[in-house]
Amino acid sequence: MEATHGHAHDHGHHDHVPSGIMRWVTTTNHKDIGTMYLWFSFAMFMLGGAMAMVIRAELFRPGLQIVNPEFFNSMTTYHGLIMVFGAIMPAFVGFANWLIPMQIGAPDMAFPRMNNWSFWLLPPAALLLVIAQFVPGGGAGVGWTLYPPLTIQQGMSMDLTIFAVHILGMSSIMGSINIITTLLNLRAPGMTMMKMPLFCWTWLITAYLLIAVMPVLAGAVTMLLTDRHFDTHFFNPAGGGDPVLFQHIFWFFGHPEVYVIAIPAFGVISQVIPAFSRKPLFGYTSMVYATASIAILSFLVWAHHMYTVGMPVQAQLYFMFATMLIAVPTGVKVFNWVATMWKGALSFETPMLFALGFLFLFTMGGFTGLVLSITPVDVQLHDTYYVVAHFHYVMVAGALFSAFAGIYFWLPKWTGKMYDETLGKWHFWLSFIFFNLTFFVQHFLGLAGMPRRIPDYSLQFADFNMISSIGAFGFGLSQLLLLYVVLKTISSGEKASQKQWEGADSLEWTALPTPVPYHSFEKPPVVK
């Protein structure tokens, strides 16, 4: 993939960067918007992380020490909502904004003003989630899954939360429209679909998933809202409604949502591993097909989150088989990544360490997912800490580690400066060790039968909970190191080169200088 054109100095006089606060409020520049998405996501990561610290502090020992059960429930609820909708999803949209135009040789996103609007919807939504903590009755203690009839009992924090979900959904849909249009219409001459970097492919697929499922969630929470205030009884059995219906609708959104988070993470990993293996991605075509298969399968397996609601056994069998099937394309991806490394010339800078951490731990999350797909086993493990451990292996060691890999990988390109490699490695090893300390033992808690979302537990669970809490405090503190590394890079990092990583081969490395100019590819590069 060689670009014949793309030197920014050709049109350097356009490179006027507006300044002041209005630059950020009114910007339509994909790089500015990407930056804002990433900082917003980091702020939410800190907020959701603080909530996790409250949860783990209360669970440090049996008994109630620090918070009361209502507050505890609201912490688990908003920790989940903020991490999923506020931290992880915006982080990958931030990557998409920064990278998609640069990787396909486009000057910007297709709809720059809508791009601005997609971002600026997020802070009000976050604000609603924060305000919800301070209204009479406190935050809603219902879990991020918002199951009725419990949601119908809650105070006004529930309404604020529902509106926040509406707004976040609008933002995601607009972001997705933008990404799809950009990828389909703004590719540089010669950049065929099957030449796009895998990161672009994964986002194309993710954006379609989002457009398909976000309206479903919006519908579900709107029905909750009318159940709460207008006695519509969609889900309220007191009026003939069906609480299980909500679960079906929620998980029809919720399972693809898992892949909305995981698939862009696969994309980042598929850029990082080849770069540090100095070898092209193995099985590009099969990776594209595997990703698409995972996305399609993700629509067909939702009720595996509901094995204990009492579905007919035929339905349970179907959902078990369909869920097990997801292991096939997921396995293909893991095999392809390992094959990419095979006979490469590997080096282990921070992005590669996080990518390997991802590969190792995400696969463990995949295996526990396979265990959970087996209905009779899941009946034992459903709603226990085993599930908590499983999805944190997928969400934290999966999506979050991949985001860290991406941040270290592209930070030199974004800022023009190189991060401190030693500190980056410290960040990886601390995160890796404390992550496992926190979540590995939770498998044992779940196997022994500790339910999730409880503020207090019987004495048999005391030791592992203490270990898990210690791990969580360590993991939380380690993330401050990331903030320090990024700030240090921006303020005093050494100058980075155009192609900072020897093995990187996508357009942002081969055709654009470092740091990238404010406007890039005003004339499209020609891709051979």
Binding site: P62, Q65, P69, E70, P136, G137, Y147, P149, L150, Q153, P237, A238, G241, P243, R278, K279, F282, G283, Y284, T285, T308, V309, G310, V313, Q316, M320, M324, V328, G331, V332, N336, V338, M341, K343, G344, L346, L359, F360, L370, V371, I374, T375, P376, V377, V379, Q380, D383, T384, F444, L447, A448, G449, P451, I454, P455, D456, Y457, S458, L459, G503
Partner: protein
């Protein structure tokens, strides 16, 4: 044979590891006391073992590459990046492994879901936050509440052996009989979960679901509500006592004698409720129900003993207070969220709280 050896190997590995590294910490499912439970235990061990083997093969390859194919030892990168045969092979092999897993899983699931021909049926109703057990053939019916004292939860007393897993009235079942459980709920979702009996079934208001177990040996089996049901979700345990057929019959006789007393027909309210039906004890009800909010002043509830908060409310007249307490007001749920209280009990409780807050 595979199953037996897998089970043996799994047990040995876990046992060894558990005792070497963690003393008595449990690393697998709890000891199972039903046939379905044993099947689930074995199934889980087999799957974990298969995963472990795949894990070792895949990451063995990865670590080999990490050690041998690193740039720092001078390894030159090869250029291959595609091989259709390999892709087909590693699509088909996992598929076949999954087929192998699906067979025992299906068999176990079909057995687990066969609730036909029970010897005895018990209806389990989840309430915020207690369980009610109705023995449908025996005309025995009672509530089961957490019996761990508040003081233990609030760390004012040392915690007992069965902290949070003890109740005032246990569910009693005969050993060796197929017990069918019907679950439903009175308010929000709950889930009836007893790990050692391999049973977890959501309790859904407005709907009845079922599950079953046949306990192999006498004993006390403890579990908890497994579906988030509000603030006391962590405080609604389940205790099942499995006894011999004779003891069970004796127990049923005792229960019938109990329910035939003066409180027959009226729902007993919690631990204190049955005995207090004649002369409601406001203090006891307060401690059972109302203190959850009124002790700390949560959700805008006036704190007990806080005269400044209570005076304007008392000024509205005691009938208004009764009315609000019985039918609900703002965030205060009707009868403090416990529909089983009689109006008299609520009134007595209001009187108690008013007198304590003047």
């Amino acid at each position: 044979m595979i199953r037996r050896s897998a089970r043996a190997l799994g047990a040995v590995l876990l046992f060894a590891w558990a005792h070497l590294a963690f003393g008595e910490m449990r690393l697998n499912l709890q000891d199972q006391k039903t046939a379905i439970g044993h099947a689930v235990y074995d199934l889980h061990n087999i799957i974990v073992l298969i995963c472990l083997v795949i894990f070792i093969v895949v990451f063995g390859a990865m670590f080999y590459a990490i050690v041998k194919h690193r740039k720092s030892v001078g390894h030159q990168a090869a250029h291959f990046h595609e091989n259709t045969t390999v892709e087909v092979v590693w699509t088909v092999i996992p598929f076949l492994i999954l087929l192998g897993m699906a067979y025992p899983a299906t068999k176990t699931l079909l057995a687990e879901r066969d609730t036909s021909a029970p010897d005895l049926t018990i209806k389990v109703t989840g309430y915020q936050w207690k369980w009610k057990y109705d023995y449908l053939q025996e005309d025995v019916s009672f509530y089961s509440n957490l019996s761990t004292p508040r003081a233990q939860i609030q760390n004012q007393e040392p915690k007992g052996e069965h902290y949070l897993l003890e109740v005032d009235r246990e569910m009693v079942v005969p050993v060796g009989k197929k017990v069918r459980i019907l679950t439903t709920a009175g308010d929000v979702l709950h889930a009836w979960y007893v790990p050692q009996l391999a049973v977890k079934q959501d309790a859904i208001p407005g709907f009845v679901r079922d599950t079953w177990f046949r306990v192999e040996e006498p004993g006390v089996y403890r579990g908890q509500c497994a579906e988030l049901c509000g603030k006391e979700h962590g405080y609604m345990p389940i205790v099942v006592r499995a006894v011999s057929e004779d003891e069970y019959k004796k127990w049923v006789g005792e229960q019938k004698a109990k329910t035939a007393g003066p409180a027959a027909g009226a729902a007993p309210a919690g631990a204190a409720g049955g005995a207090m039906a004649a002369a409601p004890d406001g203090k006891a009800t307060y401690e059972q129900v109302c203190q959850a909010c009124h002790a700390a002043g949560l959700a805008g509830a006036p704190k007990i003993g806080d005269a400044a908060a209570w005076t304007p409310r008392i000024g509205k007249g005691v009938q208004t207070l009764y009315d609000h307490a019985i039918h609900g007001f703002n965030l205060m749920p009707a009868k403090g969220g416990n529909p089983n209280l009689t109006d008299e009990q609520v009134k007595a409780t209001v009187d108690f709280m008013v007198s304590a807050s003047k």
